[in-house]
């Protein structure tokens, strides 16, 4: 058989191609129209305004260069005349016979007439007089549960939050850290002598057991640190974390079938999981039941900087506690920000509507003393009131404050010192980067400094809010827990009452090292 026989296809193809190309060249590409040629140029703002008599005036367009031809113009004028006539006819019919029709009345005049009759707008809540002021004052308003309108989705969440708070999604697949593997491999390869025998050298590095030295791991540690910072871990925390990981690994003998980078990743993974694991038992429900058995309310103070979601997550936690059969009293100790008390009252009203009681005290109670009072005193009164009226949990909402504001930090320290709550929760948002360390350090420091006590109460736990907004940039978890050593107890993941989750350490670390 002769394989060498073939069609002379190439020359045919080239011929055809040439022809097609030439054809295409002849057809010049369609030229773009200039703007003035386009239809859009004919339309101006004024041409789009439809006058009262229904005629669209086109010829005022300033860009228009050609006048419309005579014929069109004639027709237009004729149409205008016709319409004017029609209008006059209609006016004459509608009016009483004695009155003369006014066909020449221009639309502008009509407009003027209307505006002369226009009365001053009275806004519903305009606070000029004393009565108007009273109308605006909602602070004395009594709760009317019948007025609360609950949507279907809100009704559906009732009864879903029973029991333990659920974990944030954990993907069970093994953690695979593919951060800059190529880059790491690249740096590793330059060190090896035989780059041509790629798989042979990797084989020896797999089996050969040698103890790790700083020069082996420092490039990988550097990459890891950058990766952590890119995941929103505070720079300081990332530095310290990587430092301790490298300290732990130096001198360690590399295991069989393990590469340097996998060993480093494993160590970092373990370190992060360890940081996120709570160092003591965290079971608010259990402790609240214990407090109930001892006939005292379980008090939780929420503190944090402005706008991180203290009140919102307080309401969510209240919902979770109610679902688990506890009676909750909310103390409105934010006596500073306008609307803070009303915000809580709205929540309380809604929660009561979701969990109505037949008789006896309502499931959620708002303890308020208005604005401008001392928060510490209100909290104390609230706890005493809860004890008397048999509420199980007191949630104390405080005003947001910046960590550098000394007078406000003193006030918070006083509140905690005077009331000795069972739990002091710091509310922080997951969006925060380097500031997380600063916030927590200063909150803790001022609680210690301003309390004048031997063993001051510090932050016992962290509520991480807005977790749904950060995707996989979960670094704030690590920064916060590393700074205080305290566990993240709740994670806020959305807007509804049921969007409260537990932190799952392995899931977070998987997201962090991904």
């Amino acid at each position: 058989m002769n394989y060498s026989f073939s069609f002379n296809f190439d020359s045919d193809f080239k011929d055809l191609l040439k022809r097609v190309e030439q054809d295409e060249k002849k057809k010049a590409p369609a030229k773009m129209k200039a703007f003035s040629q386009s239809n859009k140029a004919q339309k101006t703002v004024s041409s789009m305004i439809i006058k009262k008599n229904g005629v669209q005036v086109n010829n005022v367009a300033p860009v228009e260069k050609q006048r419309p031809n005579k014929l069109q113009e004639d027709e237009m004028n004729r149409n205008i005349e016709k319409m004017k006539l029609k209008k006059a006819h209609r006016n004459a019919r509608g009016k009483p016979p004695g009155e003369k029709p006014k066909p020449s009345q221009s639309p502008v005049q009509v407009q003027e007439k209307v505006s002369r009759n226009k009365s001053r707008t009275v806004w519903p809540n305009e606070g000029k007089s004393a009565e108007a002021g009273l109308k605006l004052d909602y602070s004395g308003e009594k709760e009317d549960t019948s007025q609360v309108v609950l949507t279907k989705s809100e009704r559906e969440i009732v009864g879903t939050a029973g029991g333990e708070i659920r974990d944030i999604g954990e993907d069970d697949d093994d953690y695979d850290v593919d951060i800059s593997d190529e880059e790491i491999n690249g740096t590793a390869e330059t060190n090896t002598k035989k780059p041509t025998r790629g798989f042979f050298s990797s084989l020896t590095s797999l089996i050969g057991s040698k103890s790790l030295e700083e020069k082996d791991i420092s490039p990988i540690i550097g990459k890891m640190k950058e990766h952590l910072i890119s995941k929103n871990v505070a720079a300081e925390t990332a530095e310290q974390l990587c430092g301790s990981v490298s300290k732990k690994l130096i001198g360690k003998v590399l295991g069989t079938f393990k590469t340097v980078q996998s060993t480093v990743k494993e160590a970092l993974y373990e370190g992060c999981v360890q940081i996120l694991s709570p160092k003591r038992r965290v079971d608010i429900l259990r402790d609240a039941l214990d407090a109930r058995a001892n006939k005292r309310p379980y008090a939780i103070v929420f503190c944090g900087v402005n706008g991180v979601g203290k009140s919102t997550n307080l309401a969510k936690i209240a919902f979770w506690l109610i679902e688990n059969g506890l009676k909750v009293s909310i103390a409105a100790c934010d006596t500073f920000r306008a609307g803070a008390v009303e915000q809580l009252r709205t929540h309380v009203r809604k929660l009561n509507a979701l969990h109505p009681v037949d008789k006896g005290p309502e499931t959620v109670n708002l303890f308020e003393r208005g604005y401008g009072k001392d928060p510490a005193a209100i909290a104390m009164e609230a706890i005493a009131h809860a004890r008397d009226t048999h509420y199980d949990v007191v949630l104390i909402d405080t005003a947001g404050r910046m960590q550098d504001n000394e007078p406000l930090m003193r006030a918070l320290s006083k509140l905690i010192k005077v009331n000795q709550p069972d739990l002091v929760l710091f509310v922080g948002e997951a969006l925060v980067g380097n500031d997380a360390v600063d916030q927590l350090m200063k909150f803790n420091q001022s609680l210690a400094d301003f309390s004048n006590m031997e063993n001051p109460r510090l932050i016992d736990g962290i509520v991480l809010t807005k977790f749904d907004t950060i995707d996989d940039k979960v670094g704030a978890c690590i920064s916060m827990t590393y700074t205080t050593g305290q566990p993240i107890i709740f994670v806020g993941t959305g807007q509804t009452y049921s969007d409260l989750k537990n932190l799952n350490a392995t899931a977070v670390v998987n997201a962090l090292l991904r």
Partner: protein, 247 residues
């Protein structure tokens, strides 16, 4: 092009690569097979180790040292597991003493739970009334664990430090733990469904009935022990008896 030409092409292809490459390739394939066998063997779990678990300062490491080296020694908080083998009734048993510190115990439990034959849960009989919440929580975590439930190893609750004058007896400890676990399952187990967790949390014990150890799938036994000898008899004889039984 002819067939013959093709064959010579292949010869040329062969001659370009020396036999060393082929040898390395063969070794590589053999190596992969070895690794696969190694992993398969490891994942199935031999199920031959005895885990010593419990909260901090319950006496796990002290019992471990007594069993392995027959010596009383001052111990400190373990930061990692201690492993050793002990000869019981002609068989050798692998004993692993897991750290009780709250930060790390979960990780170590996850690491070793697959190869478990029995769990010896060590409890400090003297301080239990104070620590019952912490003890019950760890015990709850063990009893509710999916992997452990699947293998359902024997759980021996070792009421340690019986030499102490105020130590509680095993029956008192059983009652205390039962009561606490009953409370715990209402506060922790009632999570009905979760969106993203593939493992459904099952209820401990039986529904509409106070929790009892006898309701469990596990075989739970309570024994008393102490690392101090009394009247020449080892205080750990009950532990060694049970090691023999589970061996």
């Amino acid at each position: 092009m002819t067939n013959a030409k093709k064959v010579t092409d292949f010869d040329a292809f062969l001659s370009n690569y020396d036999t060393t490459t082929l040898a390395i390739a063969a070794t590589f394939i053999l190596g992969i097979i070895t690794v696969l066998i190694f992993f398969i063997k490891r994942s199935t779990g031999s199920g031959n180790s005895i885990l010593f678990m419990g909260i901090n300062n319950a006496g796990k490491t002290a019992i471990f040292l007594n069993l392995i080296k027959s010596e009383n020694r001052l111990t400190i908080t373990s930061m990692k597991q201690n492993e050793g083998t002990v000869q019981v009734g002609g068989k050798s048993l692998k004993i692993i003493d897991l750290p009780g510190n709250e930060r790390i115990r979960k990780q170590y439990m996850d690491q070793f739970k697959k190869s478990v034959k029995a769990v010896f849960f060590v409890v400090d009989s003297f301080t239990l009334p104070k620590e019952v919440k912490d003890v019950a929580e760890l015990l709850y975590d063990i009893l509710i664990d999916g992997t452990l439930t699947k293998y359902s190893p024997t759980i021996v609750i070792v009421c340690n430090k019986q030499d102490h004058a105020m130590a509680k007896s095993s029956s008192v400890i059983k009652n205390l733990l039962q009561k606490e676990l009953n409370t715990l399952r209402t506060t922790r187990a009632a999570a009905l469904d979760s969106i993203d967790q593939n493992e459904k949390v099952n209820l401990l014990g039986k529904k509409n009935k106070d929790f009892e150890f006898s309701d469990l799938k596990f075989k739970v036994e309570f024994i008393e022990s102490t690392i101090k000898d009394n009247d020449g008899k080892s205080g750990l004889s009950s532990v060694t008896d049970w090691l023999e039984k589970v061996a």
